[in-house]
């Protein structure tokens, strides 16, 4: 299956001077359904109000700010409590006006509806008798 949502080279965002915490890349699954693509991104420690989804010039940007109560300096470290960020390029068969996002249990779900013309149409074969 051809990948319809491709990742754009991840770039560090340079717009703020407050970026003291490391940025993390969330793990992402992309599922194709008949009339939409469903993208799920894992952002543990990000509450609903900390998640941000924007679409600009064909690029979908996912961001998550982790809660401040996550231990800043643990003795034993297996993950770094930084904010999350990842970008994807969306192809023309996605309707940029119909993108919906929700956040639950640290998982950001983004639903990207396909353009009407991109949907699979089933054509009934008539018998010509």
């Amino acid at each position: 299956m051809a990948k319809k949502v491709e990742e754009v080279a991840v770039t560090r965002h340079e717009d703020s001077g407050e970026a003291s915490r490391p940025l993390r890349v969330p793990a992402v699954d992309i599922e194709e359904q008949t009339d939409e693509y469903v993208l799920t991104a894992e952002m543990p420690g990000v509450a609903r109000d900390g998640a941000e989804v924007t679409v600009e010039e064909g690029v979908l940007l996912l961001r998550g700010r982790t809660r401040q109560d996550v231990d800043p300096e643990p003795e034993h470290v297996e993950f770094h409590a930084g904010d999350f960020e990842r970008r994807f390029r969306i192809l023309p068969d996605i309707d940029p006006g119909r993108i919906a996002a929700s956040m639950k249990d640290g998982v950001l779900t983004v639903r990207l509806a396909k353009q009407e013309k991109a949907k699979v149409k089933k054509i009934t074969v008539e018998s010509s008798e």
Binding site: V28, D29, P44, D71, A81, R86, G106
Partner: protein, 142 residues
């Protein structure tokens, strides 16, 4: 017809630039998405009155996580279910998981507390009174 100058070195230089860029990306950024290593990842913090274990479990419901303490071993296990569909791209870890942590001896096991919210499991293990740090006032005589 315009001639295009053939420069084999330009391609090599481009590869070199890209490699340099990759090498300057902190490894943790890539490791984060690939979820290498043991699952779930744990952070452990010790304060004056408690030991706190934080585990990243995005998309896992509280009912699917089981925490047991036997002797001085804490076992955290469960299963992470992701709805099966026609995935074009998969990175998220799924399936059963298990981690064990050796606890320090001075934990009050009956006071263990665990909360799971926003995909973060926080297990708080208060230290027993004997093990807590106490400040002793030095009295002056005379």
């Amino acid at each position: 017809m315009a001639l295009i100058r053939f420069d084999p070195w330009e391609d090599l230089l481009q590869v070199q630039r890209e490699m340099a860029h990759l090498l300057h990306e902190p490894f943790t950024r890539l490791a984060g998405a690939l979820q290498l290593g043991e699952y779930p990842p744990l952070n452990i913090t010790e304060t004056d009155d408690a030991v706190r274990i934080t585990a990243e479990l995005p998309g896992v419901a509280g009912k699917d996580v089981d925490i047991t303490v036997t002797g001085d071993i804490l076992v955290l296990k469960g299963v992470k279910e992701i709805q099966k569909g026609s995935y074009g791209h998969r990175e998220r870890r799924t399936g059963p998981f298990s981690r064990s942590v050796h606890l320090p001896g001075h934990i009050d096991r009956d006071a263990l507390k665990a909360t799971l919210s926003d995909g973060l499991l926080v297990i708080t293990l208060p230290k027993s009174m004997v093990a807590r740090k106490r400040k002793i006032t030095i009295e002056s005589k005379g």
